[in-house]
């Protein structure tokens, strides 16, 4: 059986997929359905098993257990070259002894396509490297090599394209441009893209669905809005954007709301937004949802939560001002205020109230480290 480009696409399904390297379980019983034609992003910290997952889908790594389906076909035991799947490798893996043209034409030629010139030239256009066909990979910059790796995979229009951080080496302008180009190709041709990235913004802007991975497992899966607005684990709340999380106790209910106790202060939260099962929860709110009000002003608004603290840092970033406010019990919370022009600017040392709509509050299971996922943001951003 030979793979055919543009064959009737089916969903990519991973069923209880596990990869145990002996020294480490890289992918841990992962189940996932990626709908045909969707742009799917895998987001997660370094070493969480993203590359290993892609390699198993490509057929380059044998799963320890579990199955992989493409549509109705079980492809788990199928050789890599018989899968209608192509990969853009994290380290490019361009063939050093072939020039750029032959690198890009490689897949087409292996499938017996004779006249490849027009297609390769069009692909060189897409990645903006016209005239580079005669060069060797060693004569290209990192970003150029990355674009050739992209072209080499894209030209085959596979059912599923696996992209392992395909834009990591590009500067911001080229990156945005390539993101648009990728998105355009994906919608035009209707391919399924599985895109691994460290760049949250890239995942948010490009993907239909994002899966946040941690320690070989999917922490949460959903649309970008869904993930950001309704994180269901501490890791996701901290890894995707920033969150203010504080430990709280559920002390009662009031209609559709839960009453909470945080270090003696009373807060409320919609019961529907509580993911925790017990009475101990971590309650959270996104920093841009919080308003900072100078101490003394009236804050007795119905349906709002209030906490008091002291501003210890205010940094102006242009569009926003970011405040760090220390609570009486020593925890620092973050407030991001949009600089719309008429707000009162607070300076370090000022006493302030943190005010937010109670419906913006979410509750998470209070197991594990409240800071889980924070460190990795810095790593990923650097």
């Amino acid at each position: 059986m030979t793979p055919t480009a543009g064959a009737p696409a089916g969903d990519l399904r991973l069923v209880e997929l596990t990869k145990d390297f002996g020294s480490a379980v890289a992918v841990d019983c992962l189940s996932l359905t990626i709908p045909a034609g969707s742009f799917f992003a895998l987001l997660g910290p370094s070493g969480c098993g993203k590359t290993t997952t892609l390699r198993m889908v490509a057929g380059l790594e044998e799963p320890t257990s579990g199955r992989i389906y493409l549509g109705d076909d079980d492809v788990t035991d199928r050789k890599a070259y018989k899968r209608p799947v192509n990969t853009v490798f994290q380290n490019y893996a361009l063939f050093p002894h072939l020039n750029v043209f032959d690198n890009i034409a490689f897949g087409l030629r292996r499938r017996g396509v004779k006249d490849v010139k027009a297609q390769v030239d069009r692909m060189l256009d897409v990645v903006e490297l016209q005239g580079f066909g005669v060069r060797r990979p060693s004569q290209l910059s990192g970003g150029q090599q990355q674009r050739i790796a992209l072209a080499r995979a894209l030209i085959n229009t596979p059912q599923v394209l696996l992209l392992d951080e395909p834009l990591g080496a590009l500067d911001l302008k080229l990156r945005r441009q390539m993101q648009l180009e990728l998105k355009r190709i994906q919608t035009d041709v209707g391919l399924t893209f599985v895109h691994v990235t460290h760049d949250q913004e890239e995942a948010m802007t490009m993907a239909d669905t994002i899966a946040v991975m941690n320690n070989g497992k999917i922490e949460q899966l959903g649309s970008p809005v869904d993930l950001y607005e309704n994180p269901s684990t501490v890791f996701v709340a901290n890894f995707l954007g920033q969150s203010n999380l504080v430990a709280a106790q559920i002390v009662g209910t009031q209609g559709a709301d839960l009453l909470l106790d945080v270090q003696g202060r009373k807060l409320t939260m919609p019961a529907a937004r509580n993911c925790a099962t017990g009475d101990s929860v971590y309650v959270g709110v996104r920093p841009e949802k919080v308003r900072l009000v100078p101490a003394g002003a009236s804050v007795d608004l119905p349906g709002h939560n209030v906490l008091d603290g002291v501003v210890i840092d205010a940094s102006y970033t242009g569009v926003t001002t970011q405040y760090v406010v220390r609570m009486a019990w020593g925890q620092d919370l973050m407030v991001i205020a949009a600089n719309v022009g008429n707000e009162v600017r607070l300076t370090a040392g000022a006493n302030a109230h943190l005010v937010w709509d109670a419906s913006d509050t979410f509750g998470l299971e209070a197991t594990g480290d409240i800071a889980e996922g924070i460190e990795t943001i810095d790593e990923a951003g650097s």
Binding site: L60, K79, A80, Y81, V85, N86, H97, G107, R110, A153
Partner: protein
Amino acid sequence: MATTLSRPAARAASAAPARRPRRQSWLRRHVVQIFAAVALLYMFLPVAYVIAFSFNNPSDRYNSTWNSFTFSNWTDVCGPAGVCDSLKLSLEIGALATLGATVLGTLIAFALARRRFGGRATTNLLIFLPMATPEVVMGSSLLTLFVNLQVPLGFWTIVIAHITFDISFVVVTVKARLQGLDSRLEQAAMDLYANEWQTFRRITFPLVFPGILGAALLAFSLSFDDFIITNFNSGQTVTFPMFVWGASLRSIPPQVNVVGSIMFVASLGLALVGQVFYRRRRA
């Protein structure tokens, strides 16, 4: 190094004080080239001697004193009995031994570098043994083996003996090249619809080929050159090194120098072609 440099510099200083700093820095700057030149001179003086005396019209039996210039040795290489016969034999043996050792050695190298199998570590170790064994030991043990098995000594026993010691060198050379090859390149080829054979033909082989070629050249020169092991296992057969050795006991015809010169020029030519080819591929 400082003392050897300061002495001539000091002498120069007394002669022309004004130029002293320049002189010293010239020496400093060229010290590497000077050492290289001396080393090359040391290495190539014997070769130059061989080439020069291939044009000698010897007055004595050993072609050791310069008499007069002549081209006749070059125009009549096969003149003295045995020169061309033994040369042809050595070339044939070299070619066969190279072929056998390169094919077998390359296969072993692939197995050792790419497969996990029982006895792999032992094989890795044993493959070094022929390189470490003194040639006298190896030659005499092979002779014992052939005699015990009642294999008639001659052309084929020499070929077998040469393959035996050539294989180790081929395995080591090719394996080094294979281990330097990123296996992700082969995976990328598989991902791009190349089956196992196509991956080998299009990716693995072209990338490992320089190593195989180098190994083959090494195997050939080792085989062509070998005297000790050959001498044990040759029976009545006379290879070129054996001919030269035998001749040197009585008289050395200047044609031996011609053959030596040709070998030298040929290997120099090969090296140059290789360099040009390599540069072209990189460019």
